[in-house]
Symmetry: C2
DNA sequence: GTGAAAGCGCTAACAC
DNA sequence: GTGTTAGCGCTTTCAC
């Protein structure tokens, strides 16, 4: 059998309380006693039973991260950061995928697993402010990620959506582009990232006195490479002239770039493109995709290539 | 307080044993009794305490996935599949990152967290067959992923490395290419994926009677976009002519493609490129990167584009 | 078919 | 400064 604190206590000739004290480094222990315990722990290769500890203390050292989908580079990079940081704090991360599905988001939140973690990081995609009452119900500490719910009963972390896209828009306009697409709008969705980024686009236009033209607002439902490609394909069919693209995330920018290039458009000569999120991949496409790092995580990008 | 089985038992006017029986759907329960219990559970919104269950039963319903790094699309997609499948089985996945670091791989394996999970999926990067003794030590059920350790004390899952790269090599040779690079060799590493894939390359050459030329074997240490780009940059400096690239994974292929394109090489006209892993991104680069799906997961790719 | 009771391994009052 | 003891909420023999 795997050893327990009782075995350690017996070998060290102390009580289990003392062993527990050592494990939880309670300050007032005689150094020699502590050492005896430490030796016994080492000799037995004792490891605490985390289930028991969790049951007794109520804390499990587990954190849950709920994201739509790890295939999406944005969320994979988010998960990477969360795991890295959690591990540095001695926590472990459980990852659950919602697929952006409302029912799944709900069932994950309500499931017994969420009741066993010390905290939840929830990247909301389907739930909305209409579900605030339900969110208020959940007792486990929770932080919301993203912009779907900004006025909810929980703390949330968001990014400078408006400012980021505004800067991107102004950048393209500053390069002399006159017909710049807002690529990634989602008029159905109402609030959320798409709306905020569209607002950034509008402000960018306004900042240089450029009129807002609905023809240049392209909707993309679901922000993946594939949906970006599809939307651009449909937009090109409409034959509306344009010379710049402010994409509301990197993946749809990459999908769109691919379609434009296939259609014979030269980037950045014919069309300047800028993305959003600063996903790794943008550094290795041809041409490099300029992108906005809304978190200011890394050193400045190489000079704009679009 | 959150309700326990005792509360449920009291409300349903049964003993806790009966509640437990219902929860674990023990067959021999009178339907009316079961219904009373179910009603009480619903009324109280009872949820089982998973820490207690874990302590008592020894099974936690948690599985641990150890991978080098979620930023790497290959591992992100692997994690996606694992999480998806685990959730379908009612399990949750803890993800830990090793960064391919030996010490970290060791400490993760030996840490108390691994003792609380029902199983470990370990994508080995740094440990090797020399560590077999240590692996044998670990009691938690474990499956090794990848090719670092093939003869170890644990089951392992691998893919058709040799066959996949051989097919890729033959494909390029079949297109009439005569100087095809083996891109991604790692002569230092000894065994592992790189060696297997190099073997596939050799067999591909042999299959069509083409001699093996060491000049065409390009080493890439660490399979990322950046290392692929670096290695290709150095190789181009050497001025050795070539007209095809069999890359040992998609990321280094993408990094290399970018460098070749910058250098003015046209793909596929001047150089045909094929990757390995079938990462999503390969569908959206320009040109599309042909790649080998060693697992045969998806429907056939669109016709070779390189 | 259901109940009583023990105990998984740990933490934390509470004594001394 | 250390020991005793009582549970945390559950599963599971063993009776009945």
């Amino acid at each position: 059998m795997t050893p327990t604190i009782h075995d350690v206590a017996r070998l060290a000739e102390v009580s289990i309380k003392t062993v527990s004290n050592v494990l939880n480094d309670y300050p007032h222990i005689r150094p020699t006693t502590r050492q005896r315990v430490l030796d016994a722990i080492a000799a037995l290769e004792y490891q605490p039973n985390l289930s028991a500890r969790g049951l007794r203390s109520g804390r499990t050292g587990l954190v849950s991260l709920i994201i739509p989908d790890l295939r999406n580079a944005y969320f994979a990079e988010l998960a990477d950061v969360v795991v890295r940081e959690a591990e540095a704090q001695g926590l472990s991360v459980m990852i659950a995928q919602s697929n952006g599905d409302r029912e799944r988001e709900l069932s994950l939140l309500r499931g017994p697993r969420m009741q066993m973690v010390d905290g939840i990081l929830f990247s909301v995609l389907a739930l909305s402010a209409a579900d605030n009452d339900l969110l208020a119900t959940i007792k486990t500490p929770m932080v919301l990620l993203g912009e779907r719910i900004l006025d909810g009963p929980k703390d949330h972390v968001t990014m400078r959506n408006v400012e980021g896209v505004q800067a991107a828009t102004e950048h393209l306009l500053g390069l002399g582009r006159r017909r710049v697409l807002a690529f990634g709008a989602d008029l159905v969705q109402g609030a959320g990232s798409a709306a905020l980024r569209l607002e950034g686009y509008r402000r960018g236009l306004a900042a240089v006195g450029m009129p807002y033209d609905e023809d240049l607002v392209v909707e993309v439902y679901g922000w993946f490479r594939s949906t970006g490609a599809d939307s651009m394909r449909r937009f090109l069919d409409r034959g509306i002239p344009f010379d710049g693209v402010v994409a509301f995330n990197d993946l749809i920018a990459l999908g769109a770039m691919r379609v434009m290039q296939e259609a014979g458009l030269r980037i950045p000569d014919d069309v300047a493109v800028i993305g959003f999120d600063d996903v790794d991949e943008t550094r290795y496409t041809l041409p490099t995709l300029s992108t906005v790092d809304p978190a200011g995580r890394r050193s400045p990008r190489s000079p704009f290539a679009t």
